[in-house]
């Protein structure tokens, strides 16, 4: 596992570098702020750039036009984009790319991979779920940044199989709601008769794609918590009260030490899970690794983010100061692709124990 990681360190480094160009870790948040609450809540141009950089097809096979990389690169990328607060729906797009590659739909896939078309998968029928019931006429909920979609993919159950239907976004019955971070989440009431059926059975691949999205989301959370912690450390090192730098107060020092532990645990959990998937794990082993990582990212991530607000004092509660942007993004993504309790239960149900 660690050997594999060593071998990949170069491609991971390159991915991180290229992410910096789009969502600079140390850059300002003007771009992010300007996009808030303006539909669709993200930049089509930046999405296109992500396509051009090969990110949307990062894990798709090279034969299908993808980059042929793995989850280790994917979580490094989503971590960087979390740190940079990029609002573009990259993770949902990666999920769609997986399905389109499996469906061998070159037309839609091509446009998605190069970033010219935003294709989002409308798979979710209730909150806090990773299951794909595929009920034909059920409203599909919680589609991230749905207002910017050109097309939707709908899994539709047919007996034991899950067919895939593609649907033009234009003319669809789509209702948007604002999210805490300035984005828009959509509920789609699809008229399937307007769609075209592009695959007979994507049941297995959609399950895997959701697992990968859950892990990528854990990576995004890692980026949020790490960057918010970095801002907080900077604040602790400069802010003065009572004639002292507040970072000299031991109670704050010890809390910072705890936050560091949580960031490190999350990194270890996310990166080890990515390595498990890159080793070709399937079934219960894959699911357990993903659930372990997502659980940790949510539990430790939200703990770190709320402590970062607290350590900033009053200024942390203002919209003007950046640290709050991380908390609000955290709220939006924490339960996407399954809340902590869901993943804890799944992990317990799946992971075999070494009882001595």
């Amino acid at each position: 596992m660690s050997q594999a990681l060593d071998d990949r360190s170069e491609s991971i480094r390159m991915i991180r570098d290229s992410a910096g160009a789009v969502a600079p870790r140390d850059g300002d948040t003007k771009r992010v702020r300007a996009l808030r609450f303006v539909e669709p809540g993200f930049s089509r141009d930046v999405f296109a750039e992500m396509g051009a950089l090969g990110w949307i097809g990062l894990a798709a096979p090279e034969a299908a036009g993808g980059s042929g990389l793995g989850m280790s690169e994917a979580v490094a990328l989503t971590e960087e984009l979390g740190a940079g607060l990029a609002p573009e729906p990259l993770i949902p797009a990666m999920l769609s790319a997986r399905l389109l590659a499996a469906a061998e739909d070159k037309a839609l896939l091509g446009g998605l991979l190069d970033g010219s078309k935003v294709v989002l998968t409308a798979w979710q029928e209730k909150a806090d779920s990773i299951a794909v019931p595929g009920t034909g006429d059920a409203p599909r909920m919680f589609i991230p940044q749905a207002g910017g979609a050109d097309a939707f993919l709908l899994p539709v159950r047919e007996g034991n199989r899950i067919a895939l239907v593609a649907l033009e976004a234009a003319g669809s019955d789509l209702v948007l709601e604002k999210t805490m971070d300035g984005g828009f989440v959509g509920t789609l009431r699809a008229d399937l008769s307007r769609g075209s059926r592009i695959a007979d059975d994507v049941g297995a691949v959609v399950e895997q794609a959701i697992d990968e999205a859950a892990l990528a989301t854990a990576g995004h959370m890692l980026g949020l918590m790490e960057k918010a912690f970095e801002l907080t450390l900077g604040y602790l090192k400069t802010r003065q009260q009572f004639g002292r730098i507040i970072g000299t107060f031991q109670s704050l020092q010890h809390r910072a030490a705890d936050l560091k532990i949580h960031v490190s645990l999350t990194r270890a959990a996310v990166e080890s899970a990515a390595a498990v998937l890159d080793d070709g794990a399937t079934g219960a082993v894959r699911q357990a690794a993903v659930s372990k990582a997502k659980h940790r990212a949510v539990e430790s991530g939200m703990y770190v983010l709320r402590q970062c607000i607290q350590l900033h004092g009053g200024i942390g509660y203002t919209d003007e100061y950046d640290v709050g942007l991380y908390l609000r993004r955290g709220m939006v993504i924490m339960n996407q692709y399954g809340a902590a309790a869901l993943h804890r239960r799944r992990f317990m149900a799946l992971a075999p124990e070494d009882v001595e």
């Binding site: 909150a127 939006v332 809340a339």
Partner: protein
């Protein structure tokens, strides 16, 4: 804006039995409080709040704790507590109450006759709405480090500086202000209390957008603002002690279980809506929170009993603020955990104000910061209650 100050209340409230008094208050609140404003998700602005405020003023109930000779109801502590319990039970919004709970007591204890005659009636009739100018950008937890300066020039003080976290300053027409009047004294000993008309030239109010995307707090800038010297309250350079005494109200107020209790009731509704209410693991989490809330109520009760007996509260009241605010946060943390993707929505779910996990969560964040951060409260507990050194 002026209203009659001849109060409509004719009953002798002080003579009533406690339970009769409670029923009387409850009945009137239910009949008069606008139902659409019960348990508002955000702090209300003056334009939303003022109909109720004026109803209280007309009834003569704005200042239940003030002595009768100053226009208050002169209620004994036990009745004041009942009054507050009923207001909270009904979910009445917190009013713009700094005049009532801070300026009134300040002037009654430390004001000149002239100040009392000028300001108290206008608080009672709602003409003056007050805000509190305490915190500054570099004097947050360390409030005594404030640098807004007032220099005597003839009959006026000239004020320069900046305040921050001034609650609802944009709604207020008067401000009570801590200013530095002696730069050479030790930091607690050069501070005075000034009463400032917000219409005075040189004052700029700038709302701060917070994590709720709401503008409850403001920055207030003072640029050569002339304040008549007669508006200084008490002894010059002795404002710090008066300010500290006023904070005891705030500490018990912030330790009241009402925010946690309200959030806790919403947690149940959310759990039912999300379909996790019956789950044993949720029930266990909920049971722990419930018992924390009930034990907070028991502890709060011991402090209320002290007030009822007419005792003053010691520094140990900080315990309530710490435990209440952190419980409030834990309750709302749990809301997000069970809310699924609704944990990311800006508005209440399904347009139902009772299903508003994100609003409650965000509202709970500053509770551990304002009114003296919980770190400061723990310093107070360790030094002033436990006697730990340094």
């Amino acid at each position: 804006m002026a209203v009659s100050i001849a109060p409509k209340e004719t009953a002798d409230l002080s003579a009533m039995e406690d339970e009769a008094f409670r029923a009387h208050v409850r009945q009137w609140i239910e009949a008069n409080y606008p139902s659409e404003l019960r348990n508002p998700p955000k702090r209300l602005h003056w334009d939303e709040n003022k109909p109720w405020y004026f109803k209280l003023a007309e009834k003569g109930w704005l200042c239940p704790g003030w002595p009768r000779q100053f226009g208050g109801l002169g209620l004994a502590p036990a009745k004041q507590i009942i009054f507050t319990e009923e207001v909270e039970r009904h979910g009445c919004a917190r009013t713009n109450d700094h005049g009532i709970v801070m300026v009134g007591p300040l002037l009654i204890n430390h004001g000149t006759d002239a100040q009392q005659q000028e300001f108290l009636p206008k608080i009672l009739n709602g003409e003056h709405v007050w805000c509190q100018g305490y915190s500054e950008p570099n004097a947050g937890s360390d409030l005594a480090a404030l640098r807004t300066e007032a220099v005597l020039d003839g009959d006026d003080y000239v004020v320069n500086g900046q305040k921050i976290w001034t609650t609802l300053a944009s709604d207020a027409n008067w401000c009570f202000l801590l200013v530095r009047t002696d730069k050479n004294a030790k930091k607690q000993e050069g501070i005075s209390f000034l009463l400032v008309d917000m219409a005075t030239p040189g004052i700029t109010v700038k709302p701060i957008i917070n994590l709720e995307y709401h503008d409850e707090f403001c920055e207030v800038f003072f640029d050569n603002v002339r304040v008549p010297a007669k508006n200084l309250v008490g002894t010059p350079n002795r404002g710090w002690d008066m300010a500290k005494a006023l904070l005891s109200f705030e500490r018990i107020y912030l330790g009241s279980p009402r925010l946690s209790a309200y959030a806790f009731a919403r947690l149940r509704q959310l759990a039912e809506r999300m379909g996790v209410w019956e789950e044993a693991t949720f029930q266990d989490t909920y049971g722990r929170l419930r018992l924390d809330l009930e034990d907070l109520k028991s502890l709060y009760g011991t402090f209320v009993d002290k007030l009822r007996r007419g005792e003053t509260l010691g520094a140990d009241v900080s315990m309530l603020k710490v435990f209440q605010t952190e419980l409030f946060q834990r309750i709302t943390d749990t809301m997000l955990e069970i809310a699924g993707e609704n944990a990311g929505l800006l508005e209440p779910m399904e347009g139902n104000r009772n299903l508003n996990p994100t609003g409650q969560y965000i509202q709970a964040r500053p509770a551990t910061i304002y009114g003296g951060s919980n770190e400061i409260q723990r310093n107070i507990l360790s030094k002033n209650v436990l006697g730990l050194p340094g």
